[in-house]
Symmetry: C2
Subunit: 247 residues, 2 copies
């Protein structure tokens, strides 16, 4: 019995999110189909966390238990020839049996990309939000600082009955300016609530549009009330960037 850990990239455009659902086209279903073709086993895949419909992953981490004796360096190519071209295995390693890609994760980083050029970039249309109107990027950048630290993020969570604890720690939240018109918001934390990054970005966009001030981010955080925050930003600008574990 072996525990295999794979790092995968996927373009979420044409999937109903990561997590397996009956009769739906999901990344997990494609991975489990490829694993069955490869090993003959019905394997359940664990991930570092689900991603929603249209959300991408540069480096999602998955693991699964298998009886297969395939050498570890062969898993990448063996899976890639059995996977659709928009899902790729980019790393593989064997891990201790108690490793779990979600429970063992220490930090996750998400990236959200916004293009404020007058014209959308046709080659990036599935990977960045094109915002037609100008944005005050400086005000957005300064609002990010209020997110850093341990906070109750209830205002930035789509309400679901099974979540009672809204406290998370954000280690870093920064804006990277790729050019005059393309910016990436990078947010790293010990975990994220449902829709948390997209609601933070939706709120930041209101700050950028001048509908709110940077300091409002702090007040929204203190309110612990979803109705105080902005709307959920579109999925396609979001990418799961990195998941870190203890060595």
């Amino acid at each position: 019995m072996r525990n295999i850990c794979l790092v995968i990239s996927y373009d979420g455009t044409y999937y109903c999110g990561f997590q397996s659902q009956p009769h739906r086209n999901t990344v997990q279903d494609k991975l489990e189909d490829a694993l069955e073709k490869l090993t003959g086993e019905q394997i359940k895949v664990h991930s570092s966390g689900r991603t929603d419909t249209g959300v991408h992953a540069r480096a999602q981490v998955i693991n699964f238990i298998t009886e297969s004796s395939i050498p570890i360096e062969r898993w990448g190519l063996a899976m890639n020839v059995r996977l659709p071209e928009d899902i790729r295995v980019i790393q593989s390693r064997e891990v201790p049996l108690d490793f779990h890609s979600r429970k063992s994760a220490k930090r996750k980083t998400y990236r959200y990309t916004i293009n404020i050029d007058r014209n959308p970039d046709v080659f990036q249309r599935h990977y960045q939000l094109h915002h037609y109107r100008p944005l005050n990027l400086d005000n957005m950048e300064s609002a990010l600082q209020y997110l850093i630290g341990e906070h109750d993020f209830k205002s930035f969570c789509t309400v679901r009955t099974d979540k009672n604890v809204f406290v998370r720690t954000i280690y870093d939240a920064r804006m990277i300016r790729e050019s005059d018109t393309v910016v990436h918001i990078m947010i790293t934390g010990n975990g994220f609530l449902y829709n948390m990054v997209r609601i933070i970005i939706g709120t930041l966009l209101q700050i950028g549009e001048g509908k709110r001030k940077s300091i409002d981010m702090l007040e929204i955080l203190h309110a612990r009330d979803r109705s105080k925050a902005g709307p959920k930003a579109p999925a396609h600008g979001l990418m799961l960037w990195e998941v870190s574990y203890d060595e």
Copy 2:
């Protein structure tokens, strides 16, 4: 009567090339459909040149004659709301009636992108050739110099009966290294023969693989014989980058 010139970007992945064909899904058909919806006129579009199935354009130039009085600054948005999301108008201007986007063109630049990383980049899969085996990039780079100048490029042209003159001038041919694993080949000339860039790239790949030497590029050029050159490289790595006109 006005002559309108538009610069357009398109993702060629899902089109049967630029040029209109009966019952085929082409970029020209989509442009002419959008123009008819916008103006009520049946408009024939001229381009700087056709692109093949799967080839992209960052900045293709088109022009057409219209009776429409739509102000020039409105054409971009008016067309974009009527075009599929993988074709975008990025500039518009009114030009003299004798301007023709192909006949008036002075220089064209094509870009071909190659990724030699072990793993393909899932987000660039439609825009770069993933070459699984290593390439000697230095040898490829030095082969490019032999292309510069006025030459008979018959060796680099898919034979068609309607072409008798194979002389073209290449002003620049260079490699841009984006990273250790991603390179762009940029080629600028006064015009290109059918499949010329893709056959040059196919030959360069053989040089990179060690099947040929850099100097072979010169011998192939002198041979004026298509069978001496390498195969046509895949379409999806190719992008029409820029078209220049006299001011």
